[in-house]
């Protein structure tokens, strides 16, 4: 069923009784050409592009919980391509371009809102680092603007210009960046993949990876053995656990990152604003809640819940940047399990096992990467060849000395 204003009117006139499920609930077949482990944004996007762009349609996505139950439904919805390193920027810009056509491609409104992401700077050194980044973006053909203090005051008058511990001197703005409705991304890809024949199998937990003669033959699951020609892992925070089933040892630590939403408010924050005096970032959802977050809790964890000290620190940064947040009430906090990599950048690669493919290490950056991650992973799976924009994101970069360390923090995951 194609979605449009017309379909809404037509269905309304028949009492909205004729809408169909957005994706099927198929029984798993005994064998697929490709099995994707993980029914989050990346797994679903991979399945979608495999079927649509690369003609691989005999595909299953196995999800241990409900579809989209991981980080795709538990993030701060920010979409941007304002990276500095040549290993990252082309990849995220490729993603940004896919975002820009995603609604038409999927026939699903993921509410991409290109409201602009601005990262504030508070010192000359920080400005210089952002200038370096902005110019790296321009090198890739991505427009960026340096907004100086007086201009910023007009644009975002409610920032802490007068009493800040670290003076707000300006910001680096990417106008094309913004937000998207996170759940809709999962649902839209699921619907799209389903329409191209992909089987999305929820509540199907992979418990083992069967190998014969050094290649994967299928997976043991809570719903029985399912055979496959190729196996692709997109298990985010659980990547180490799934990898372990194939004796892979990965450069990952799982960490909890909290995000928060306030009570609904009338429109008051029109951009995504990132605080340079800390890690705080905030935007307003179309429903009115202010959605925000900051740094990870710091210890390795598989629990989808955070600690109070970190939450308090997030609020401190928020009020430091926008004093007027003080009386706004925070409604809900949630925690996501981040697959933090050793250089803060993701991994899309083959593995030592010929038909086993890996997609992990998304750290904080998974949501914005969803389209490119899916596309590049599908490219890799279908063609056994790395997509050009993902060349720097290979697993062997650590052994070869080509870490993509955007933060320059070195091999300690909780510093990225």
């Amino acid at each position: 069923m194609r979605y449009s204003a017309f379909s809404i009117v037509r269905n309304a006139l028949s009492g909205n009784l004729n809408w169909r499920p957005q994706w099927r609930q198929p029984q798993p077949k005994s064998h697929y050409d490709v099995i994707i482990v993980g029914g989050g944004g990346h797994g679903l996007a991979t399945a979608y592009y495999l079927a649509k762009e690369f003609g691989v349609k005999n595909v299953a996505v196995l999800e241990k919980g409900y579809l989209g139950s991981g980080n795709v439904g538990r993030n701060t919805t920010i979409v941007r391509s304002n990276y500095m390193l040549p290993g990252n920027e082309p990849f995220y810009e490729f993603s940004m371009k896919l975002w820009e056509g995603l609604e038409q491609d999927l026939n699903y409104n993921v509410m991409l809102s290109q409201r602009g992401v601005i990262m504030l700077y508070h010192s000359d050194g920080q400005r210089d680092a952002y200038v370096r980044r902005g110019n790296a973006m321009w090198m890739e053909g991505v427009s960026a603007e340096l907004i100086e203090r007086e201009q910023l005051k007009k644009m975002i008058p409610f920032l802490n210009y007068d009493h800040a511990r670290y003076p707000i001197l300006g910001g680096l703005l990417q106008r094309r960046a913004g937000t998207a409705r996170h759940d809709a991304v999962a649902w839209g890809y699921a619907r799209g993949a389903d329409q191209h024949g992909v089987d999305i199998i929820e509540h199907c937990e992979v418990t083992g990876i069967r190998r014969e003669n050094g290649v994967v033959t299928g997976v043991e699951t809570s719903r029985g053995f399912i055979g496959c020609g190729k196996l692709a892992l997109a298990a985010a925070g659980n990547s180490s656990r799934v990898g372990e089933m194939a004796d892979l040892k990965l450069p990952l630590e799982s960490h909890v990152l909290q995000a928060f939403v306030t009570e609904g408010l009338k429109p008051c924050i029109d951009h995504v604003i990132v605080y340079g005096g800390g890690h705080f970032y905030i935007s307003q959802s179309d429903k009115g809640g202010l959605v925000f977050g900051a740094e990870i809790d710091g210890y390795s964890s598989y629990a989808q819940r955070g600690n109070l000290a970190t939450a308090e620190h997030v609020m401190e940064e928020g009020v430091s940047m926008i004093p007027g947040l003080s009386r706004v009430r925070v409604l809900r906090a949630w925690g996501g399990v981040m697959d933090m990599s050793m250089d803060g950048s993701p991994i899309i690669d083959r593995t030592s096992i010929d038909n086993l493919y890996l997609n992990c290490g998304w750290c904080y950056g998974g949501f914005k990467a969803t389209p490119a991650s899916g596309y590049c992973f599908a490219h890799l799976i279908a063609r056994n060849d790395t997509h050009p924009v993902a060349r720097a994101l290979r697993l062997d970069r650590f052994a070869r000395g080509y870490a993509v360390d955007e933060a320059g923090a070195g091999p300690q995951p909780n510093l990225h």
Binding site: I8, G73, M111, V131, N135, E145, P323, V330, G401, G408
Partner: protein, 987 residues
Amino acid sequence: MSAYRLSSGGLVDRSKVLSFTFDGRPLRGLAGDTLASALLANDQLLVGRSFKYHRPRGIVSAGPSEPNALVTLGSGARSDPNTKATVAELYSGLTAKSQNRWPSLGFDVGAVNGLLSPFLGAGFYYKTFMWPRQLWEKLYEPVIRRAAGLGRAVLERDPESYEKSWAFCDLLVVGGGPAGLMAALTAGRAGLRVILADEDFRLGGSLLSETETIDGSPASAFADRVAAELRSLDNVTLLSRTTVFGWYDDNVFGAVERVQKHVAEPSAKLPTERVWRIAAKRALLATGAEERPLVFGGNDRPGVMMGGAIGTYAERYGVSAGKSVAIFTSGSSGYRTARGLAARGMSVSTIVDSRPDAVDAAPDGVRVVRSGSIIDTKGSKRLSGIVVERSGYEELIACDALGMSGGWSPVIHLACQRGGRPVWSEDLKAFAAPDVGGGLRVIGAANGVYTLSGCLRDGAGKAAAIAEELGFHAAEAPLPVIDAEVEPSFAALWYVPGAKSKAFVDFQNDVHAKDLGLALREGFGHVEHAKRYTTSGMATDQGKLSNINAVGILAGMRGVSPAEVGTTTFRPFYTPVSFGALAGTSRDTHATPTRKSPLHEWAKKNGATFVDSGLWFRSAWFPRGGEKTWRESVDREVLNVRANVGICDVSTLGKIEVFGVDAAEFLNRLYCNPMLKLPVGKARYGLMLREDGFVFDDGTVSRLADDHFFVTTTTAMAGAVMSHMEYCAQALWPDLKVRFCSVSDQWAQMAIAGPKARDVLQQLLDEDISETAFPFLSARATALRGGINARLFRISFSGELAFELAVPAGYGEAVADQIMEAGRAHDICAYGVEALNVLRLEKGLLTHAEFDGRVTPDDAGLGRMFSAQKPDFIGKHLSARYGLTAADRMQLVGLKLVDKDKEKDMRAGAHLLKEGMKPSTLNDQGWVSSAGYSPVLGQHIALAFLKSGRERYGEKIVVWDRLRDHEVTAEVCDPVFVGSENTKLKA
């Protein structure tokens, strides 16, 4: 006029009249009222508009679960949007405004959405607004954003203050109702350190609305008695107006106390709110139970309320919700409410009971319709009647208030915040708390115990057990006596069939039963999907009233038990908490600590302009009369250092004393260059790597004795280097005999640099510091004339003859004064970090502008420092990787502007392109790390990292700053612009 204040009764002070306004209208209430009870007493039932359809909405509850009665309290910078009128304590001068309506509450244009509702079903926005794409940000989204949202945040600076406090106790009791009070009393009498936190402004919980008597007197009197005794116990802390919002690891609870949210003129001496972190050995959850609304046609009409809430308004506040009250119930609680109202003299006309076989006794004169359903309600902005259906017959019954009672759900939110999932109980027909171990136990109605006597017994019993566990003894005490009680019973009724208009599940978000049907039809039958697709339970009340019915409806439609549907996840916060409370005092200039150098006052009196540098304030430059721009000052300072002498505060550098027989070995393993044979009395520049081979930090190492070193770090990395050293000493090589401590704050350190530095400094010292006696890279402990202990280093960050002098921090200012005095004849000037930066730039020396965490020693031109001969040091092994040694790595170079036009400059952050090449990531040749004007050379210079840069001296390169539309051509050169022969340094 239908809702009104009863002529007597209630726990309000009828002698204390409080005036307040609602939407500008002056109204009066009584001390002891909430805003909601006062509004009701003024017959102001309509208080808000719903989120999506802008439907008129009235007060539904009498507590924190309220979905509808959200108002903005206060005005200007003191606005509190989305405040629940049902928990807002009334005070004189309170101003309240309704929300989400335009132009007025009575006439709201947004209500047109209601007419369009067939087109605006759950998730409609995912299916449209996709064409043309540009219109989303320009048209569709702004319209949606404006229509959505509730209250308005002013985003002005909050004039009030907040604070935080830790508390520790043996037992935390959450909730001051019958179970909680009894538990606190039992534990308090047994001697435990008890904290009782209750969200209300008056202790007692349901006792304050209770119609039963305890020991023959009103339940509220019992609550007062217990509260008084608790107050008299030193080991008990009562925190009223305090909501426990979260349960965290190690039995730590977060709570927020509204210290003065209930006063018109807050005292500046008190915080407005205070966040408590309560570390409790044990905790008892006594949070009561929530009555369930019924999902029937027209159930959102103002005047339709929770049955228990109507009872509470009558009993506690002496307010009647209507002239003629009807009750719709699926259990005995509706009858109990009716009896209470009748006892207060209110008119109860009808009880509609969904059950066919109820045996509960109705008050005299109240008609009971068994097997009855309400299928619609009448009235516009206020209920005027209900359409009751029974056995196919419909009847319109007039009433102006309707109490709903669909049974009870224990409030178990906190118990489920750490991963435990609620457990469906067929007995309770509700989700109960999971067993979460001994740290947190549930008592009273939260535990599914619904009689008053049962609650008291449960509270006393579990508190006594905890006392025993913790080594106390609770003496047996007789429990209070309650008159005849009935164990409440009810039938689960998730949805009332036959609805003739919308039957709302989530009032605030306007989710009605059909939305859930649509969600299921479209494949969103999982409880999490249904929530996310319909937004049910996502409003400011987080579904406290609605979630259970949504689960029940989904279960019914899917033909499974609610147990199988399960619940969505309970997460903090139990009720919303302000940013301000959670941030406490850490805001504005107190957001992080401020560090000031021991020479801060000295710099200040010398006219310094300061700049932030991490936590530090550093003197940036010292403007003198007539200088209009910072550049003028900096140029003068630089030239003066090169020509005469300057003094600069370098106290912010990290300073670490290292002792021990293995100190040299330890440092030798820490730095990539050799440290083992550093002679006593000598300093050496040192480079530390991370284990991955990239530069971590640089600094100096001075050997003051065989087993005593003094190490400096950069300002930025002082903390990180100290931690790194501790890690290495403790976790890697604990057998090395080495001890160290940070002395960054103990020493004031100043650089005295310039050709006349020695002449100035010698005046303070008896010791000979001539080139022969104290050559370049000398380091030793000494004493100033007059006896002040000092350390003197012959090190330079400028290429000039230079010393660094360290004196105990307390003497810093006096010594700096003395140096200025001694230097006067030599034209000494104070210089700041800006001049320092230019001086080091001219000399090609590096800072963390260059060492950005991705640079190897060789990249920085310091490859010779990397000691391959040493058997081991941090970072050695992985430095050999291909990627770290590849020939095309970016290497440090200098850049000189080709065009000496003074207007043109180079700026840090620019990238580098070969002449004639198009900008692209592939063509990117490198980047400028530091740039500035060299007053010595009279031109702009820069340090940059350029691919294979050291082979490219003399090449012309484009310095490309597209971000600022700035492009110049520079010549690649050696990064040492000034004094490459080091003659001045070693003079």
